[in-house]
Subunit: 134 residues, 2 copies
Amino acid sequence: MDTVRHLQPDKSWVDSYLEDCPARTVLDVLANKWTLLVVSALRQHDGPMRFNELRRRLTGITQKMLTQTLRALERDGLAARKVYPTVPPRVEYTLTPLGVDAGQLLNAIGEWSEHHVPEILGSRAAFDARPDPS
Amino acid sequence: MDTVRHLQPDKSWVDSYLEDCPARTVLDVLANKWTLLVVSALRQHDGPMRFNELRRRLTGITQKMLTQTLRALERDGLAARKVYPTVPPRVEYTLTPLGVDAGQLLNAIGEWSEHHVPEILGSRAAFDARPDPS
DNA sequence: CCGAATCCGGTACGATACTG
DNA sequence: CAGTATCGTACCGGATTCGG
Protein backbone atom coordinates (compact mmCIF):
# COMPACT_ATOMS: atom_id res chain seq x y z
CA MET A 1 0.00 0.00 0.00
CA ASP A 2 2.58 2.52 1.08
CA THR A 3 4.88 1.47 -1.72
CA VAL A 4 2.84 3.27 -4.34
CA ARG A 5 1.63 6.02 -2.10
CA HIS A 6 3.74 8.59 -3.89
CA LEU A 7 2.39 7.61 -7.29
CA GLN A 8 -1.26 7.33 -6.50
CA PRO A 9 -2.44 8.15 -3.00
CA ASP A 10 -4.42 5.16 -1.76
CA LYS A 11 -7.29 6.37 0.33
CA SER A 12 -9.45 3.30 -0.11
CA TRP A 13 -9.41 2.66 3.62
CA VAL A 14 -11.24 5.90 4.27
CA ASP A 15 -13.52 6.01 1.24
CA SER A 16 -16.99 5.47 2.66
CA TYR A 17 -18.35 4.47 -0.71
CA LEU A 18 -16.23 1.32 -0.69
CA GLU A 19 -17.41 -1.79 1.04
CA ASP A 20 -15.46 -3.19 3.97
CA CYS A 21 -13.38 -0.08 4.49
CA PRO A 22 -12.92 1.21 8.05
CA ALA A 23 -14.86 4.38 7.30
CA ARG A 24 -17.94 2.29 6.63
CA THR A 25 -17.68 0.67 10.04
CA VAL A 26 -17.48 4.10 11.62
CA LEU A 27 -20.57 5.18 9.71
CA ASP A 28 -22.37 2.06 10.89
CA VAL A 29 -22.15 3.45 14.40
CA LEU A 30 -22.88 7.10 13.62
CA ALA A 31 -25.58 6.74 10.97
CA ASN A 32 -27.96 5.11 13.39
CA LYS A 33 -31.12 6.42 14.95
CA TRP A 34 -30.30 5.48 18.54
CA THR A 35 -26.74 6.75 18.36
CA LEU A 36 -27.97 10.14 17.22
CA LEU A 37 -30.54 10.37 20.00
CA VAL A 38 -28.20 9.11 22.72
CA VAL A 39 -25.38 11.43 21.74
CA SER A 40 -27.71 14.39 21.40
CA ALA A 41 -29.20 13.69 24.81
CA LEU A 42 -25.77 13.42 26.43
CA ARG A 43 -24.75 16.60 24.68
CA GLN A 44 -27.74 18.63 25.78
CA HIS A 45 -27.53 17.47 29.35
CA ASP A 46 -25.37 19.32 31.79
CA GLY A 47 -23.00 16.81 33.35
CA PRO A 48 -23.04 13.01 33.25
CA MET A 49 -26.22 10.98 32.82
CA ARG A 50 -27.16 7.72 34.46
CA PHE A 51 -28.44 4.74 32.54
CA ASN A 52 -32.11 5.02 33.47
CA GLU A 53 -31.95 8.77 33.14
CA LEU A 54 -31.09 8.29 29.46
CA ARG A 55 -33.68 5.56 29.21
CA ARG A 56 -36.43 7.85 30.45
CA ARG A 57 -35.34 10.62 28.10
CA LEU A 58 -35.32 8.46 24.97
CA THR A 59 -38.89 7.22 25.03
CA GLY A 60 -39.25 3.87 23.35
CA ILE A 61 -35.68 2.64 23.54
CA THR A 62 -35.20 -0.78 25.09
CA GLN A 63 -32.60 -1.50 27.75
CA LYS A 64 -30.87 -3.78 25.33
CA MET A 65 -30.50 -1.24 22.56
CA LEU A 66 -29.44 1.46 25.01
CA THR A 67 -26.77 -0.80 26.45
CA GLN A 68 -25.67 -1.85 23.00
CA THR A 69 -25.53 1.74 21.72
CA LEU A 70 -23.61 2.97 24.74
CA ARG A 71 -21.12 0.11 24.45
CA ALA A 72 -20.50 0.92 20.80
CA LEU A 73 -19.99 4.60 21.64
CA GLU A 74 -17.60 3.69 24.44
CA ARG A 75 -15.69 1.33 22.17
CA ASP A 76 -15.28 4.04 19.56
CA GLY A 77 -14.11 6.54 22.15
CA LEU A 78 -17.13 8.81 21.80
CA ALA A 79 -18.53 8.20 25.27
CA ALA A 80 -16.98 7.44 28.66
CA ARG A 81 -18.50 5.00 31.11
CA LYS A 82 -17.93 5.39 34.82
CA VAL A 83 -19.07 2.66 37.21
CA TYR A 84 -19.53 3.31 40.92
CA PRO A 85 -19.37 0.05 42.92
CA THR A 86 -22.27 1.01 45.14
CA VAL A 87 -25.60 -0.52 46.07
CA PRO A 88 -27.67 0.10 44.11
CA PRO A 89 -25.19 0.30 41.23
CA ARG A 90 -24.57 3.63 39.61
CA VAL A 91 -23.23 4.02 36.09
CA GLU A 92 -22.64 7.43 34.59
CA TYR A 93 -22.07 8.29 30.96
CA THR A 94 -20.46 11.35 29.45
CA LEU A 95 -19.30 12.34 26.00
CA THR A 96 -15.59 12.47 25.33
CA PRO A 97 -14.22 15.49 23.45
CA LEU A 98 -14.43 13.37 20.31
CA GLY A 99 -18.05 12.54 21.14
CA VAL A 100 -18.87 16.21 21.68
CA ASP A 101 -17.40 16.95 18.28
CA ALA A 102 -19.45 14.27 16.54
CA GLY A 103 -22.47 15.26 18.61
CA GLN A 104 -22.46 18.70 17.09
CA LEU A 105 -22.98 17.22 13.64
CA LEU A 106 -25.51 14.63 14.81
CA ASN A 107 -27.47 17.24 16.69
CA ALA A 108 -27.68 19.31 13.53
CA ILE A 109 -29.40 16.39 11.81
CA GLY A 110 -31.87 16.13 14.67
CA GLU A 111 -32.68 19.81 14.59
CA TRP A 112 -33.02 19.77 10.82
CA SER A 113 -35.51 16.91 11.12
CA GLU A 114 -37.61 18.70 13.68
CA HIS A 115 -37.57 21.89 11.66
CA HIS A 116 -38.68 20.25 8.41
CA VAL A 117 -41.34 17.93 9.83
CA PRO A 118 -44.29 19.79 8.27
CA GLU A 119 -43.07 19.81 4.68
CA ILE A 120 -41.83 16.23 4.85
CA LEU A 121 -45.14 15.05 6.26
CA GLY A 122 -46.85 16.91 3.44
CA SER A 123 -44.61 15.26 0.88
CA ARG A 124 -45.39 11.85 2.32
CA ALA A 125 -49.11 12.47 2.21
CA ALA A 126 -48.89 13.51 -1.44
CA PHE A 127 -46.77 10.48 -2.28
CA ASP A 128 -49.07 8.04 -0.53
CA ALA A 129 -52.17 9.55 -2.14
CA ARG A 130 -50.63 9.01 -5.58
CA PRO A 131 -52.62 6.64 -7.79
CA ASP A 132 -51.41 3.06 -8.05
CA PRO A 133 -49.48 2.77 -11.35
CA SER A 134 -50.88 -0.73 -12.00
CA MET B 1 -38.15 22.64 32.89
CA ASP B 2 -41.48 20.90 33.14
CA THR B 3 -42.64 23.51 35.61
CA VAL B 4 -43.19 25.97 32.79
CA ARG B 5 -44.22 23.45 30.20
CA HIS B 6 -47.89 24.44 30.46
CA LEU B 7 -47.04 28.02 29.65
CA GLN B 8 -45.24 27.10 26.45
CA PRO B 9 -46.63 25.88 23.15
CA ASP B 10 -46.84 22.10 22.86
CA LYS B 11 -44.06 20.94 20.57
CA SER B 12 -44.27 17.27 21.50
CA TRP B 13 -44.95 16.37 17.89
CA VAL B 14 -41.50 17.53 16.88
CA ASP B 15 -39.58 16.42 19.96
CA SER B 16 -37.33 13.65 18.65
CA TYR B 17 -36.84 12.27 22.12
CA LEU B 18 -40.51 11.27 22.29
CA GLU B 19 -41.67 7.99 20.83
CA ASP B 20 -44.16 7.99 17.97
CA CYS B 21 -43.74 11.67 17.15
CA PRO B 22 -43.35 12.68 13.49
CA ALA B 23 -39.78 13.88 14.04
CA ARG B 24 -38.77 10.33 14.95
CA THR B 25 -40.13 9.03 11.65
CA VAL B 26 -38.09 11.66 9.82
CA LEU B 27 -35.00 10.60 11.73
CA ASP B 28 -35.69 6.98 10.83
CA VAL B 29 -35.04 7.93 7.22
CA LEU B 30 -32.08 10.26 7.76
CA ALA B 31 -30.20 8.45 10.51
CA ASN B 32 -29.48 5.48 8.30
CA LYS B 33 -26.27 4.32 6.72
CA TRP B 34 -27.62 3.86 3.19
CA THR B 35 -29.49 7.15 3.18
CA LEU B 36 -26.31 8.99 4.09
CA LEU B 37 -24.30 7.31 1.35
CA VAL B 38 -26.98 7.66 -1.33
CA VAL B 39 -27.59 11.33 -0.59
CA SER B 40 -23.88 12.08 -0.42
CA ALA B 41 -23.30 10.32 -3.73
CA LEU B 42 -26.12 12.24 -5.42
CA ARG B 43 -24.78 15.43 -3.93
CA GLN B 44 -21.22 14.93 -5.09
CA HIS B 45 -22.22 13.91 -8.58
CA ASP B 46 -22.70 16.54 -11.21
CA GLY B 47 -26.16 16.07 -12.67
CA PRO B 48 -28.64 13.21 -12.25
CA MET B 49 -27.56 9.64 -11.58
CA ARG B 50 -29.02 6.44 -12.97
CA PHE B 51 -29.95 3.48 -10.81
CA ASN B 52 -27.00 1.25 -11.67
CA GLU B 53 -24.67 4.20 -11.60
CA LEU B 54 -25.55 4.65 -7.95
CA ARG B 55 -25.33 0.93 -7.37
CA ARG B 56 -21.79 0.78 -8.72
CA ARG B 57 -20.74 3.75 -6.62
CA LEU B 58 -22.07 2.36 -3.33
CA THR B 59 -20.15 -0.88 -3.16
CA GLY B 60 -22.01 -3.51 -1.21
CA ILE B 61 -25.52 -2.13 -1.40
CA THR B 62 -28.16 -4.56 -2.66
CA GLN B 63 -30.71 -3.65 -5.32
CA LYS B 64 -33.42 -4.03 -2.74
CA MET B 65 -31.93 -1.61 -0.25
CA LEU B 66 -31.07 0.90 -2.96
CA THR B 67 -34.62 0.80 -4.29
CA GLN B 68 -36.04 1.03 -0.81
CA THR B 69 -33.77 3.92 0.16
CA LEU B 70 -34.50 5.86 -3.03
CA ARG B 71 -38.23 5.32 -2.59
CA ALA B 72 -38.09 6.61 0.97
CA LEU B 73 -36.12 9.66 -0.15
CA GLU B 74 -38.60 10.33 -2.93
CA ARG B 75 -41.54 9.94 -0.55
CA ASP B 76 -40.02 12.45 1.84
CA GLY B 77 -39.34 14.93 -0.95
CA LEU B 78 -35.56 14.70 -0.68
CA ALA B 79 -34.98 13.08 -4.07
CA ALA B 80 -36.74 13.28 -7.42
CA ARG B 81 -37.24 10.28 -9.69
CA LYS B 82 -37.51 10.77 -13.43
CA VAL B 83 -38.53 7.84 -15.63
CA TYR B 84 -37.89 7.80 -19.39
CA PRO B 85 -40.25 5.39 -21.18
CA THR B 86 -37.53 3.98 -23.39
CA VAL B 87 -36.14 0.53 -24.08
CA PRO B 88 -34.13 -0.24 -22.14
CA PRO B 89 -35.70 1.82 -19.35
CA ARG B 90 -33.84 4.82 -18.01
CA VAL B 91 -34.46 6.20 -14.53
CA GLU B 92 -32.62 9.22 -13.22
CA TYR B 93 -32.38 10.43 -9.67
CA THR B 94 -31.57 13.91 -8.41
CA LEU B 95 -31.72 15.64 -5.07
CA THR B 96 -34.45 18.20 -4.50
CA PRO B 97 -33.46 21.51 -2.87
CA LEU B 98 -34.61 19.99 0.41
CA GLY B 99 -32.41 16.97 -0.27
CA VAL B 100 -29.42 19.18 -1.04
CA ASP B 101 -29.99 20.93 2.25
CA ALA B 102 -30.11 17.71 4.24
CA GLY B 103 -27.23 16.35 2.18
CA GLN B 104 -24.96 19.07 3.45
CA LEU B 105 -25.43 17.84 7.02
CA LEU B 106 -25.23 14.16 6.10
CA ASN B 107 -22.07 14.73 4.09
CA ALA B 108 -20.50 16.40 7.09
CA ILE B 109 -21.04 13.19 9.07
CA GLY B 110 -19.40 11.19 6.30
CA GLU B 111 -16.39 13.44 6.14
CA TRP B 112 -16.06 13.46 9.91
CA SER B 113 -16.05 9.66 9.88
CA GLU B 114 -13.36 9.44 7.26
CA HIS B 115 -11.28 12.05 9.03
CA HIS B 116 -11.39 10.32 12.42
CA VAL B 117 -10.92 6.75 11.24
CA PRO B 118 -7.43 6.36 12.73
CA GLU B 119 -8.23 7.43 16.27
CA ILE B 120 -11.51 5.52 16.33
CA LEU B 121 -9.80 2.36 15.09
CA GLY B 122 -7.22 2.86 17.82
CA SER B 123 -9.93 3.27 20.44
CA ARG B 124 -11.59 0.07 19.26
CA ALA B 125 -8.35 -1.87 19.43
CA ALA B 126 -7.74 -0.66 22.98
CA PHE B 127 -11.30 -1.51 24.00
CA ASP B 128 -11.17 -4.99 22.49
CA ALA B 129 -7.78 -5.71 24.07
CA ARG B 130 -9.16 -4.81 27.47
CA PRO B 131 -9.12 -7.68 29.98
CA ASP B 132 -12.37 -9.53 30.54
CA PRO B 133 -13.88 -8.11 33.77
CA SER B 134 -15.03 -11.58 34.88
C1' DC C 1 -33.14 -1.78 43.00
C1' DC C 2 -30.02 -0.63 38.83
C1' DG C 3 -27.73 -2.22 35.05
C1' DA C 4 -26.74 -5.93 32.11
C1' DA C 5 -27.04 -10.80 30.10
C1' DT C 6 -30.18 -14.39 28.08
C1' DC C 7 -33.84 -16.50 25.53
C1' DC C 8 -37.44 -16.18 22.11
C1' DG C 9 -40.71 -14.30 18.42
C1' DG C 10 -41.10 -10.87 14.65
C1' DT C 11 -39.20 -7.83 11.35
C1' DA C 12 -35.84 -6.09 8.34
C1' DC C 13 -32.00 -7.28 5.59
C1' DG C 14 -29.02 -9.97 2.03
C1' DA C 15 -28.67 -13.20 -1.95
C1' DT C 16 -30.61 -15.06 -5.83
C1' DA C 17 -33.92 -15.62 -9.49
C1' DC C 18 -37.24 -13.63 -12.40
C1' DT C 19 -40.00 -9.85 -15.26
C1' DG C 20 -41.22 -5.71 -18.36
C1' DC D 1 -31.74 -1.48 -17.20
C1' DA D 2 -34.52 -1.10 -13.43
C1' DG D 3 -36.82 -3.06 -10.70
C1' DT D 4 -40.07 -7.15 -8.19
C1' DA D 5 -40.50 -11.81 -5.78
C1' DT D 6 -39.03 -15.24 -2.84
C1' DC D 7 -36.58 -17.26 0.87
C1' DG D 8 -32.95 -17.91 4.50
C1' DT D 9 -30.74 -15.23 8.00
C1' DA D 10 -29.31 -11.70 11.24
C1' DC D 11 -30.77 -8.27 13.90
C1' DC D 12 -34.24 -5.87 16.91
C1' DG D 13 -37.86 -5.72 20.54
C1' DG D 14 -39.99 -7.76 24.83
C1' DA D 15 -39.81 -10.36 28.80
C1' DT D 16 -37.32 -12.71 32.05
C1' DT D 17 -33.35 -13.66 34.81
C1' DC D 18 -29.08 -12.56 37.02
C1' DG D 19 -25.64 -10.04 39.68
C1' DG D 20 -24.06 -6.56 42.71
